[in-house]
Symmetry: C2
Subunit: 210 residues, 2 copies
């Protein structure tokens, strides 16, 4: 089972590495890191490089497509190179998935038209441009298309997907293997739970980002 993760300049590392850490443990799975060209691809803050092992076109037909988000999505909403790859891969994929603003790339590729979908909470309304119905669920399943909310939600999405493709026991084993028994010290991980002042401060920062 081949899992294709397309990287691009200014992606968000945890969007990709969270689901990778789960899905790479599914028996028979092989994760393939793709980019416009093989080699290191830098994250949104330029503090980390992940190595792409192949160009997009070298893996046109993965069984699972997993598109991470990041600030870099904004520059790719009319980039036919990556959008064409997503569109082509989606034709034959068993599952087409995204994390965070990766859903904007699915949308721009035409994958989300008429579907419920989610994204990072600050970009939910942007999904409407692509004919999708924004949902504030953390993981949104629509047939073979699964979108996840911001950044860390990819871990939950990957456990849901693992349950679908390999059954609940394998998903539970992987959850135990990565000791995913979350205990954050605060309860501010969604706009509905964070103090209003925290939401406003983060929105102000987000509006100022390039």
């Amino acid at each position: 089972m081949r899992i294709g993760i397309p990287l691009y300049d200014r992606f968000t590392a945890l969007d990709a590495v969270g689901p990778y850490e789960v899905l790479s443990r599914v028996p028979g799975a092989q994760v393939h890191w793709l980019a416009a060209a093989p080699g290191p691809v830098r994250t949104d803050n330029d503090m980390l490089g992940l190595v792409a092992d192949a160009a997009y076109e070298e893996l046109p037909d993965p069984e699972i497509v997993l598109v991470p988000g990041g600030l870099g999505t904004r520059a790719l909403l009319d980039d036919e190179r990556i959008l064409g790859w997503i569109r082509r891969a989606h034709e034959t994929s068993e599952w087409t998935t995204s994390v965070c603003t990766g859903s904007l790339l699915l949308g721009a590729a035409g994958v989300l038209d008429g579907l419920d979908a989610t994204s990072h909470w600050t970009e939910l309304e942007t999904l409407e441009r692509f004919g999708a119905r924004p949902s504030d669920q953390r993981v949104v399943e629509q047939g073979k298309v699964i979108t996840a909310a911001g950044v860390s939600s990819g871990i939950d999405m990957a456990l849901v997907l693992t349950t679908r493709i390999a059954g609940p026991e394998i998903a539970q084993m992987i959850q135990l293997g990565i000791e995913y028994d979350p205990q954050p010290p605060h309860d501010s991980g969604s706009r509905h739970k964070a103090p209003e002042e925290i939401v406003e401060r983060l929105l102000a920062l987000t509006r100022g980002s390039p």
Copy 2:
């Protein structure tokens, strides 16, 4: 504030990338990826390479030391190159931290002698070799030394650390920024919560690993 993350062959990606995604968002933070030599370092399953930007010795004195775990720790328990770096960095660090079996490297470097500490649940007892008292808490704080349990626990540890160094508001903003509102589809992320059969099956697999 410089955060030094030492990589080595066969590390676990999420151990490092989870805390990176949190700590890189702390105002003034800069994450530095280190290894025996600059260049790509491959993960435990050989499916992913992260780029180390410098050799260990190029950053002898980060304010925060963060040691990830992985199958590769076993080969490093008497490797003076990385252990010497940890020992030296710990002398001047403000915080010395680990995720998963990264605590075995802290232990082998002499950092955990007489302290409570944690690790991946399958390796908790190994900590006793290094004079540490195994704890099954998810995040264990002992002065400036913080150890975290398996793989995904590094995200929680990093939010605890962020609260200490930057205050609860910044920690809450970062938690909201990465939308960390965990909703795993199962409740099997600790040996105390997973069905006994799942624990036994995973232990059997772990014993068979190289």
